[in-house]
Symmetry: none
Subunit: 365 residues, 2 copies
């Protein structure tokens, strides 16, 4: 990797910054130095390497500052939650807050809303989505009107969000998924990044054009979801022997979206670089950990996006940085929760460890 | 009890296993040695003996391993929860998770679902069962259609579950119980084990054919439920003087199902062996402890079933092992909760002690 003289002069200029911003500047400086010295983070764009997740966490996490106001540390929205599933969108949304986002919204069905609201008063829960069963008596015209209303309710908020998480507890209702398809189009139109997980991946796998070539899309498939993606997009089976190359091909084939393949090691690619995160972790496989991850990717991606306006910011793709940071933090929190709760560790216990884990890596003051 | 040479050679072979599996192999080896030496667990198939519950717990509880993925440590479903009762299915389902299952579902009525969901985001709660009052206006044909829909909703999940718990908070609504009868048939058809408790026992006592000769059925009656079972099946009263023999006869009469008779000592029989668990315990008799037990039996039975594929596994019936393990763990957790909370000990307090109690007997790492 060639080092541009402008980056080096930028590094030198960093020392002249005001004291109030010195902490974050220093962190970015440290990041640049690692980059220039060929740290594992960005050693080679075409080879796999273990990411230095802690370093990425320190880089993307913004300094807290009394001058900042509500919303600047991130406004996240989860699109998910239906009559059947309410835990998953809650886990994603509350994780975003616990990591440090300022505001976390959930857009779910009318049935799911009171339940998700009851889990926590911290969330803003919009009961706006509709499932087929609640509109089955309507004419096609009236259904279209319902759809327009749903899209209006979500759309009016769209530009206020830094990132969406689409899919946790979404279910597979056709009418609902059709609305969510259009929500993705709205997000793309407004350049709002989104993380696709759970049933959102079911939707996207069957309609890959929804995310194709959108550089702000992140997919976070588990073993089975990844298998279906590979079959659908690459027309072959998962090749564990060439996991990194296959992941890179898959991401490239979908036009450079970022894919975080969850597993014993998490593998991350945008069709060019491939990074892995293998640190820490817990052997407990209780359901819901993927929801923490999706909420975490949304927050860290938002923070990494904010860094882009800084001329001294790392040049790495914000989506890649968001995935590395979220994967690293989840693993550390899961490990900490496991030391406390052992076999009885549940997803809520891991969420309770997010703050302590992040503080350990990246102290707030 | 004769010792087969093949078992001894199996024991010898155990020493050559890889280090990664040595912990679980050693536990099974220890179990076999106890068996061969005539430990209290399986001393004689025809006499009652106090089970070594801690040893059984160590044997059936799987090692945790980073390579495992979500679901492999158990997927449990509770069939229960109606307009009147919501606590019982929650206690059973959350206990399964706290002991170490990966996923815990509840299938309940539409009224019960939002409440059960609100107790914990960790559970997946399906609002699919129907009670008579909600379909009283329907024609017989429409009622049949509703029943088909209920069965379809439960049936499509059936093969994914390792064990069902049928009965906690089920209520006694005739339409609902008819659906549950057919759910039992579906479970038997798919060879899914089930634990019958609470109102599930009311149903089964009146229709004993539902479980007759199904070796993967476990009934967990309390004093009154046991009394009705004995009256119905054996046409006599409970005989405390010959409790073990009567229990064995009862289990045999129902075709070799496993019965866990709850009491000062828990007695367990499948019509052949009779085991008792008398350790630990708490003098507090708050409602809900039976629900913990039923959820626990489901998890441990699932784990004991997994052992069956291991050639070095104990030969004891998985249902018997599941009952011994769950009884022992509940007693230990209840005892621990009582030392902390005394007279104010509630079922939730005992559930909070499940993890610590299991960890004490069988450390996760």
């Amino acid at each position: 990797m060639l080092v541009k003289p402008s980056i080096i002069s930028g590094l030198v200029r960093l020392t002249s910054h005001s004291p109030s911003s010195s902490s974050s500047v220093l962190r970015r400086q440290e990041f640049l130095v690692r980059t220039l010295c060929g740290s594992p983070i960005i050693r080679a764009m075409s080879s796999t390497s273990e990411a230095d997740a802690e370093s990425v966490l320190r880089t993307v996490t913004p300094s807290l500052d009394l001058k900042r106001h509500k919303g600047q540390a991130g406004k996240i929205a989860v699109i998910g939650g239906c009559r059947e599933y309410t835990g998953a969108p809650y886990f994603a949304a509350i994780s975003a807050l616990k990591i440090g986002a300022d505001l976390s919204h959930v857009f779910c069905t009318k049935d799911a809303a009171p339940v998700i609201k009851s889990y926590s008063p911290e969330l803003i829960v919009h009961p706006v989505l509709e499932e087929s069963y609640s509109i089955s008596q309507l004419s096609e015209e009236d259904k279209r009107e319902v759809q327009d209303k749903v899209l209006g309710e979500v759309g009016k908020w769209m530009e206020r969000f830094d990132c969406l998480v689409i899919g946790p507890g979404l279910g597979r209702d056709p009418f609902l998924l059709e609305c969510v398809s259009i929500i993705m189009l709205l997000a793309k139109k407004s350049n709002v990044p989104f993380v696709i997980d759970g049933d959102g991946l079911f939707l996207v796998t069957n309609s890959i054009d929804l995310v194709h070539s959108y550089p702000l899309a992140v997919l976070t498939p588990n073993v089975n979801e990844y298998k279906r993606l590979v079959q659908k997009v690459l027309n072959c089976e998962v090749d564990e022997q060439n996991a990194e190359d296959q992941l890179r091909s898959l991401a490239k084939q979908i036009g450079g979206v970022t894919i975080l393949r969850k597993g014993k090691s998490d593998l991350i690619s945008n069709g060019e670089t491939v990074k892995s995160v293998s640190i820490y972790g817990s052997p407990r496989r209780c359901g819901g950990q993927g929801d923490i991850l999706s909420g975490g990717v949304a927050v860290f991606l938002s923070w990494a996006q904010q860094l882009k306006s800084d001329p001294e910011s790392p040049s790495e793709n914000p989506a890649i940085l968001g995935c590395i940071a979220a994967s690293g933090l989840l693993r550390k929190a899961a490990s900490l929760a496991f030391t406390k709760h052992k076999r009885s560790t549940l997803t809520s216990d891991i969420i309770e460890c997010l703050g302590e884990s992040l503080e350990d890596i990246c102290p707030a003051s």
